[in-house]
Subunit: 340 residues, 2 copies
């Protein structure tokens, strides 16, 4: 079976661990990783979501933190702070730095990100193919309130006298500012980005397409913003099943609750499923898994033309995560069997 | 008193510690640092001699090793090796990496190395001004025997049938290959390099110019190879005094014994002094300090027109190093008093 997964960072990576655990040697898993949270820090190109997937599946992750390397040290960052480096707010571990050094050197030599990622992953023996969604630069930026110090100018077109707004990179929004109120998220560069080599084929040729519980705005949303990917999903022969990233009206992890309002989507499992929509009605999903706590969303989801099912969605341990992956595959199979 | 010092790495840095200890608040020390051992590793611009001076005078040095940071860890390097990175043979510590990250980012933004060095040093409060010899790229390369595996082609003009030769960066020669037989050292780029801002003025305006016990080929020799610097020394109103880097026919540290033959200079304190030569005879020195063990060199040096003196030159502790600096200043004063 050919399984293709659109993945963000921590949630996607944990789901992939469960998926890999239930796959047979004949299965082939391709991961299309979000790159819109990539950022250049201290002159290095950092790809947080790709690296979280790589470290997680490569058994190099700090499992408790969910990102970065196990047994990490932070000496270089402490020294960057001593130098008043403007990137010192980000957490770049010493082991992690090596990944960014290799990547930055190869990118500077003209090697595309997809090939860089392939070379980095070769060391880690992931058991899956990890493809960046695009080799072109895409960065999520977030419009927020300017600080009260008056440094924020009114945005163009903004009524005079309104409080100032400013735009920050998503990583700054999330890591440095800890997710203040967001007005708008833009995937800068997405309109000109091309899917990385292999991405469209991995969608077209898949038997099953999965959306793990990743952020609908800055992970799955940015992957879908790359021209060609949404259409490829809609046309794929695969059954497409997603796992709700919201349980009981709150994100299991991350800041989806802060960002969903920027795209007019309620913070609920049902609303996110409805946002993606049924393929039969112009959306991208055939099936949608929600948590047992959100059973009341099942009927409205089915009314939209989606196969919907409920189960425990907290990825608390390998067994529960494998069960979620199994349920997603089963839902895909039943959706596929029902297809014309 | 204005004192200007031409310095390489470990030997120069230790000498500078002694010099700073004997200076009064009215004295002003400018260090012109060698940059020809600079190298780009893992995409980062590394300036070993500048950093050794900076860390030594900034009290961040690993004093026992003589280079790199105290309390250093090596996690990033270990990871680079796991990625088979071609730079993994060099020792880049995690704390040290921050210096190279800041430097590389600033250089990429168009900030000249002299300004980058000023900003890096601001943190360390050296008590001296540290100037790179040039803002232009200069790199010492060394011609050595090719490995026996036949990978070395005969160099152009080399007789057929001779063993192959190859050229390596000085750092690779010294750190990775541990100083095999050298045939030629070239300071690539030196002929087109311009002295960094402040360098010629620091030479012209000095009261005393000092050459610490640094390598005559790849430290002092490369500084002198930058067009304009040698002439500025010859014309300076300062008295110029050097400290022999050779004691009893051997370098105190480093590989000067391997490299002096490439410029036809015998490995002795007297021969190095004669190589620099007396300013009165077209050279760059007024005085030359040798170790007590090399007293027999004093008479030949004096015959060349140099003021020469002998004393213990091993920089074993702060007191002995300060004594050497004091003797160098004294020798300069007596030479200056004798000047017309």
């Amino acid at each position: 079976m050919r399984i293709t997964v659109l993945s963000g960072g921590v949630g996607g990576a944990r789901f992939l661990l469960g998926l890999r655990a239930i796959c047979s040697p004949d299965d082939h898993v391709t991961v299309i990783g979000n790159t819109a949270d990539d950022i250049t820090l201290a002159g290095l190109r950092v790809c947080p979501d790709l690296d979280t997937v790589m470290y997680t599946l490569g058994d190099g992750i700090d499992a408790e933190r969910g990102w970065g390397r196990r047994d990490e040290s932070w000496h270089a960052m402490a020294e960057l702070a001593e130098y008043d480096d403007p990137s010192a707010w980000f957490a770049l571990g010493d082991r992690d730095l090596a990944t960014h050094l290799v990547r930055t050197r190869l990118l500077a030599a003209g090697v595309p990100l997809s090939e860089v990622t392939r070379r980095l992953c070769a060391r880690w023996r992931l058991g899956v193919d990890l493809l960046p969604m695009t080799d072109d630069p895409v960065e999520s930026h977030v419009v927020i309130d300017a600080p009260d110090d008056g440094s924020g100018a009114a945005a163009p077109g903004q009524p005079e006298g309104e409080p100032g707004r400013r735009t920050v990179h998503f990583q700054e929004y999330w890591v440095r500012l800890q997710a203040p109120k967001a007005y708008l998220v833009t995937a800068v560069g997405a309109d000109r980005a091309r899917p990385a080599p292999g991405v469209l084929a991995a969608i077209a040729d898949a038997d099953v397409l999965l959306l793990p519980p990743s952020n609908p705005v800055v992970s799955i949303g940015t992957i879908l913003a790359v021209p060609g990917i949404r259409t490829a999903i809609q046309r794929s022969r695969a059954a497409v099943v997603g796992v709700a990233p919201i349980i009981s009206g709150a994100p299991v992890r991350g800041m989806a609750d802060r960002l969903l309002p920027t795209i007019g989507v309620e913070v609920s499992a049902g609303a996110v499923g409805a946002h993606y929509g049924a393929r039969s009605a112009g959306g991208i999903l055939d099936g949608w898994l929600v948590d047992d706590a959100d059973r009341s969303d099942l009927a409205p989801l089915r009314a939209l033309g989606l196969r919907a099912a409920a189960m425990p969605l907290l990825m608390t341990d390998p067994a529960s995560t494998a069960a979620i992956a199994t349920a997603a595959i089963e839902l895909a199979r039943s959706a596929g069997a029902a297809a014309p």
